[in-house]
């Protein structure tokens, strides 16, 4: 029997990735408009989920702030969209979110467990209600118009951010900083005494993950053309990335990617097929996934794989 070596496996994986990339780059040329829009949503959720995992995966700090960082990006796009060219707007959206993350991080990263969770979620609601009040009482508006660009442009921009996020996450995981983050999650005190600058690592990674969320928000705003605080700071966007990451499994980088892709597709499918029951079914699937997939889809598949592989070995 031919046993695939790790080198061989690597080449297969690279090949698959390359083909996937080509399909994704070329799909706006032949795919229907609907597919392009769906893929954009999928990319957005992969970006949110992977960037959530970059920080919360190894460190174990469960952040419910994605909606805040995303929303800041959305608003950056709305406020600056008519002033700067789009790439600059996206960059600024990301940077604004990073700045917010640095402040929040410096304030809160000594909070552990449920307190950190509550603080980050409070942040989303605070921004939402503050901007709502601001728009009604100070500027006298509700919502804003965002300069639009074509679906294809949005698609490619999101794809670009997606590729950068995945590359960043991959490189970070393999680097000494990825190791340091993991050590922080396992025992913060020991990590500090091994020379890891715990605070700096946590804040910078939190800011890095916020950057991508903000960039994703800045891009998505251009697709929505009209935004208001309830769209920009939708609390659901804080929970979904966490669920998607858990659904996929946070142990491997492709876990959150697969989780986000499947979940987003599922949501879209349910909304179109069962518009009246979709939340019910979706909620049920969430509960089911938490109950029966403790290590995520990837963890379960690996287990199954091992069992099958183990059985084969026993046969031979």
């Amino acid at each position: 029997m031919h046993i695939p070596t790790s080198n061989y496996k690597k080449r297969v994986a690279l090949g698959v990735l390359f083909i996937l990339l080509i399909v994704m780059v070329t799909s706006p040329l032949y795919a229907p408009r609907y597919t392009v829009i769906l893929l954009t949503s999928i990319f957005m959720f992969i970006v949110l989920t992977v960037s959530w995992t970059v920080f919360s995966g190894p460190t174990g700090y469960v952040s419910l702030a994605p909606a805040a960082f995303f929303g800041v990006g959305v608003y950056a796009s709305a406020l600056l969209g008519f002033v700067f060219p789009l790439p600059v707007v996206i960059l600024l959206g990301g940077i604004s979110s990073s700045c917010l993350a640095v402040i929040v991080g410096a304030l809160t990263l000594r909070l552990r467990g449920i307190y950190f969770v509550m603080f980050t979620f409070g942040l989303v609601e605070l921004l939402l209600h503050f901007i709502l009040w601001w728009e009604v009482n100070i500027t006298g508006t509700t919502g804003r118009v965002v300069p639009t660009v074509g679906n294809t442009t949005v698609y490619y921009l999101m794809l670009g951010v997606l590729v950068i996020v995945i590359l960043t996450a991959y490189l970070l995981n393999r680097s000494r900083y990825g190791l340091a983050l993991q050590s922080i999650g396992e025992c913060e005190e020991a990590a500090a005494h091994t020379g890891v600058h715990v605070t700096a690592m946590k804040i910078s990674t939190f800011a890095l993950s916020a950057f991508f969320m903000g960039a994703a928000g800045a891009i998505m705003a251009t697709r929505w053309t009209y935004i208001d605080p309830r769209i920009a700071f939708n609390p659901v966007l804080s929970f979904l990335p966490v669920l998607m990451a858990i659904f996929g499994g946070t142990g491997q980088l492709y876990g959150p990617v697969i989780g986000a892709a499947l979940f987003t597709y599922l949501e879209e499918f349910l909304i179109t097929r069962f518009p009246y029951y979709y939340m019910l079914i979706f909620g049920f699937i969430m509960v089911f996934a938490i109950l029966y997939l403790p290590e995520g889809l990837v963890g379960m598949i690996q287990k199954l794989w091992k069992r099958i592989g183990g059985a084969k070995h026993a046969d031979s």
Partner: protein
């Protein structure tokens, strides 16, 4: 001037009563059963809609309908804990894990309950008028139903407190809150006590919903806002402390009515600012050590 101050004070107390009641429910669920129930507001919404249905369809008075809605939401909560959360608790290696997972599971429940409510009652805003005549208190006018709401909030809250501090079951619950493992060793059926707590938390939410429906408009998506308020009260009063939740509820109600007087629309913002400042400065709550 004095009338204005009284106005603000009483309005704050009226709001605070409801805040306290719904926070006590959440406090029980988190403090003892370790479930940070993001779907708490959904139970409030259920209580409100059941009351609305019974009143508009059969003319059953809200306070009587409590006798029907309370056992119902209690049972839902109890069964949910017995099935879903007990399973999660057993399969989670640590308390922190269980807290995280159960919170996410609650988010799924939130989706499901909301959907069921929209299917049953539609997505529109609803309301009914019951005991809405004005009552004059020291020159300030308040709707009678709000005063009744406050009265019932205090009565239920105190009854509940007495239940926890005086009865055998209450003592078992408090023992479980201190140390579930030790309580189990003392012969307390932990799984049963925790499910009871979760059910009682849902029951408090249901009562809160009934009271809310008497004075405010209701809709299936109303839940999250009340959940967040309950959560804020919880942090203000100290996680898991029942008297703390009570004090915190009234305090937040007062803050709300003062801020609303100064700048309408900023009340929620003020709540969140207090919430986050307290988390940073004194996460054990104002009564905590």
């Amino acid at each position: 001037m004095i009338v204005t101050v009284l106005d603000i004070l009483i309005a704050g107390l009226l709001m605070g009563g409801i805040y306290a009641l719904i926070a006590v429910g959440l406090s029980l669920q988190y403090g003892v059963a370790r479930v940070l129930n993001i779907a708490h507001g959904e139970f409030i919404m259920l209580g409100a809609f059941i009351t609305w249905s019974l009143y508009t369809a059969f003319g059953i008075v809200p306070l009587v309908s409590l006798a029907i809605s309370s056992p119902l939401v209690f049972t839902i909560g109890f069964i949910l804990y017995k099935t879903l959360f007990t399973r999660l608790r057993i399969s989670s290696p640590s308390v922190a894990m269980f807290e995280g997972k159960s919170m996410l599971a609650c988010f799924g429940l939130l989706f499901m309950i909301q959907n069921i409510a929209i299917l049953s009652w539609g997505a529109e805003i609803k309301g009914y008028s019951y005991l809405a005549f004005p009552v004059n208190i020291l020159g300030a006018k308040f709707a009678a139903n709000r005063l009744i709401t406050l009265g019932f909030a205090v009565v239920f809250g105190s009854a509940f407190y007495l239940f926890l501090s005086r009865t055998r079951i209450g003592k078992a619950i408090r023992a479980a809150a201190q140390d579930a493992v030790a309580a189990g060793l003392m012969g307390i059926n932990i799984s049963w006590v925790l499910a009871l707590c979760f059910g009682l938390g849902a029951l408090m939410a249901g009562i809160g919903g009934t009271l809310i429906s008497m004075s405010y408009q209701i809709q299936p998506t109303m839940g999250l806002e009340y959940t967040m308020i309950a959560l804020i009260v919880l942090v203000v009063g100290g996680l898991g402390s029942i008297p703390g939740s009570f004090v915190g509820g009234f305090l937040l109600g007062l803050v709300g009515s003062i801020v609303t007087y100064v700048q309408p629309g900023l009340a929620l913002v003020a709540y969140y600012v207090i919430f986050m400042l307290l988390l940073l400065a004194k996460p054990t709550g104002i009564l905590g050590r």
